[in-house]
Symmetry: C2
Subunit: 206 residues, 2 copies
Amino acid sequence: MQISELVQRADVPLATVKFYIREGLLPAGRATSATRADYDENHLARLRLIRSLTVVAGLPLNRVKKILDVIDHPKDSIYETLGTAIDALTGFLPGDQDPDRGCPRAEAALASLGSAYNASDDRMAAFVQLESALRAVEEVGMPADAARLRLYGDHVMAIARAEIDGMSTEDPQAAVQYAVLGTALYEPVLTAIRRLAHQNLAIGVQ
Amino acid sequence: MQISELVQRADVPLATVKFYIREGLLPAGRATSATRADYDENHLARLRLIRSLTVVAGLPLNRVKKILDVIDHPKDSIYETLGTAIDALTGFLPGDQDPDRGCPRAEAALASLGSAYNASDDRMAAFVQLESALRAVEEVGMPADAARLRLYGDHVMAIARAEIDGMSTEDPQAAVQYAVLGTALYEPVLTAIRRLAHQNLAIGVQ
C-alpha cells in the first residue's frame, strides 16, 4: 500500500509516520520509484503498536523505543527480557532510589503480601515505583495498612495469574510481545474499570 | 514556619513553591514583615497533596488545579462531585469521542460486566477512556473477550467496594478528598503491584 493508505488505516498523521521512520521506530517502505515506497501489513501492525504505547499507555518516545528494542531482540531468559521491558514502562529506573533511604515501605508491603511476592527485589523499577506511591499515600494521610495491601495483593495476583496463563511459551518473541503489551495496554483498561466502579458505588453513597 | 522550612519538609524546590503560590494552587503565607511570611501545617499538607498529584499520579497542572478546586468547593451531590473529580483525572473529556463512532467497545464491555456496572454512562470520561483502551488492545490483536473483562470487573469491583467502605459520609469535603486521592493515588500502588506480580510469575515460566 502507499503511505497515504497506511496513514489512513493506522489513524496516525503523515508527519508522525515520517518522524517514526526517521527515528528508526518504523522501518522505511520498499522503494518502488524515486519518490514512492510500498508499505505492507507489518508496517501497519508496527504503527498501531507505537500508537498504542504512546497515545493509550501514555509512554514517552524514548521508553517506547526501548520496549520495541526488547520485542525485536529478546534476551535468552524470558524473565530478564520481561524485567527489562517492564522497567522501561515505569518512570523510574532501577537503582534510582537514594541508597541511604532505601525502599522501606515497599519492603514492608511485600513482606505483608506473603510468599507470592517473594521474588521481588529492589533491582526492579516497579519496586521503586511502589515505594514512591506508598510514600505519597502516607504523606497525604491515606491508609496503606496491611489489610489494604493484602486486599490489593490478593486480587491483583489472581488477575496476573490468569493473564500469564494466556501467554505462549513456545515462541519467545510472541511471549514477550504479549507480556509487554499485556502489562502496558491492559493497565488503562483496569484503571478505567476501577474509576467506573468508584463512580457507580458513589451513587449508592449519596 | 519560614518558607525555607516548608521547602525542606515538603521536599519541593523553592522556585516550585513560589510558582504554586503565583498560580493560586497554594495560598500565600501570612506576612510578618515586608520580606517575610509565615507558613503553617495547612500549607505543608497542601504542598504534599500537589506534589502527590503531580509527581506520583503524573497529572498535568491544569488537571491538578481542577481537582483542588473540586476538593475546595464540593458540589451538593457527592456523586456529581466525585464524577467531576474523576473526569479531571483522565486525559479524556466527556463527549471527547466522535459521536458518529460512539463507544461500542465500552458499551459491550459494561454489558458483559453485569449489573454492578449498570449506572455507567457515556457522559463519564472513564467510559471514553475504556473505549480507547479496548480499541488499542484490539488493534494489536490482544484478547479482550467477555472472560477477560469479567476477570477484571469482578476483582476490581471487590477492591472498589472495600475502598468506598472506608469513606466517611459525614464530612462531604473529607469524603471527596478521600475519594479523589484514593482513585488517583492508589492507582500507582495497584499498577506497581501488578507489574511485580508479572515479573514474579515470569520466573516460573522461564
